[in-house]
Amino acid sequence: MELLTIAVPKGRPYGETVQLLRSAGIAGPELTAEESRALMITCPALSTRFIIARDSDVPTYVEHGAADLGIVGKNVLMESEPKVYELLDLGYSACRFILAAPAAADPVRLLDGSAARRVATKYPRMTEAYFSSRGLQVETIFLHGSIEVAPKVGLADMIVDITETGRTLKENNLAIIDNLWTSSMRLIANRASYRLKAERIGPLVQRLRELMAG
């Protein structure tokens, strides 16, 4: 059987991803439930191979054909707009894109458009798209992480970030001003593999669909 390569993200969604892949019969015991140090794991019996990558790199692997399929959050896809096919909403790791500011700040004044506000985010493209759709001009400050600290240290007036429960926001004394979009994990496919390996990808999508339905 032709080898199928799947890119899966490290970090928080890893455990649930492995669980899903195993119950769908795509991954064997070689893909351990705990993240190991291995960056590439092969399951010879199932003719599958897994690339363990940073979530923001998953679309890159898939777009360029290093992986046939990938599992990645919609938030990552929205920011990078890779040329891949989005096949399935896997539902887990659900989170929201939110706009938040210090609880004490007046949201109306922050968004009155009278002065360019500074917004810290890991998602500059989505942030600009959101504000320009509201006709507001802001200065986007790109950070790799710890976005919620930015207002406290005077780096920004607001933040655009993703949140699952809103707890980190509360801990940092931030209040949600607006809910922008929702996100969850998606199954993506390389556009050539989708055709060239159709006889492997088709049944796999079907199995995942059935798993999620019941």
């Binding site: 707009e81 096919y85 989005e86 399935l88 909403d89 556009r191 050539a192 593999s193 060239l196």
Partner: protein
Amino acid sequence: MNVPNSRNQIPEGVRDQLPREAAQMRRLADRLGEVFGTWGYREVVTPGLEYLETVTAGAGSLGRREDLYQLFDRKGRTLALRPDMTTPIARVAATKMAGEPLPLRLSYFAPVYRYRAQKAGSVSEIWQAGIELIGAAGAAADGEVVALACGALAASGLEGFKLGLGHVDFVEGIFAEAGVDRATEEALKEALVARDLVAFEKGVREAGLPGEKAELLTAMASFQGSYEQAVARFGGVGESGAGRVVRALRELGTMLQLLAELGVAGQVSLDLGLTRSLGYYTGVVFEGYAPGVGSPVLGGGRYDNLLADFGGRLPATGFALELDRLLVALERQGRLPGAPGLDAVVECPPDRVGEAMAAARELRGRGLTVEVDLLGRTGAELVKYARARGARVVSLTEGTGGEAGEVLEARRRLRVAAVTPIH
């Protein structure tokens, strides 16, 4: 020194082809041109600059005007760099070649220009080679074009490619059958072009269609399978869609039959949700995919209404190969043609230029690729240069003897004093 920064740079989205790449592109284009030629397709060259009205013909083809490079001529008229080759060729076919016997079989090798958001690997100057078959409708014409597409990809040396085959009327018919409103249809088609099945299914759910109609749309979007499976699933559709779906399926069936007879059935599969971003397609559409390349290496289809925009009213079909992507695919498979090499460098002392050039001419006459060393180098210095070019040195002076086949023979004929083999 205060050199302006941009002087040594080139704009985003374009690139230089250095000799090796230029040779690979040229060889690939020659190979494809040869195939097109043997099928009776004649090359045309159209200008890179067209009037804006020309390139935007075809009912909003390439709908996104912001993707165009626009400029003004001295009379203030708006010009555009052509964003595709099909429209200019339709213009030529409908105007300057209007009196010619039909069908017209035309081919091209040229760059087209579309502004692309700049990210890794996206180019705005896109080299294409392709064909247009104008004045012939029906399955035989569609079949010829798809078979030629397979032939061209095979001739390029590419292995393991696949063509996905769809039909505009099939998609339109399914939409008509499902009875979605205009705005929803636009949104769903956009999702279909990007093959964002999640957005497509979400759009279908939100449209609040009866279960059966919703099911029909999602089945179309994700269909992968044989013709028999397609007929089983969609063959009963379309009493209200005026039979468009069934007719489109029948056309695809006839074509698949023909392609099977031509022995290329294995390279073609049905892709019923296939929707191309260009707006002018009217019938069978197709895309070609190569292993490891995320974007199609080939795309085309039937466009029966485009020539009417130029006063032509002729059915037409054709395809374009994306040469940069094809070269990437070939390189991955280790199937890139090697650049033509240099056979020999003739030593050229300043006082014996005529002799050196005569020697070179003699060698070229025997089909070798030969340079004369204009920098007057000798000995190790010349050998070093020749080695860098993968060539041998032909020395006019007495020196160490060589034993290098053709070049050695040249020495005998030319009474060149010595030949220094490099390899």
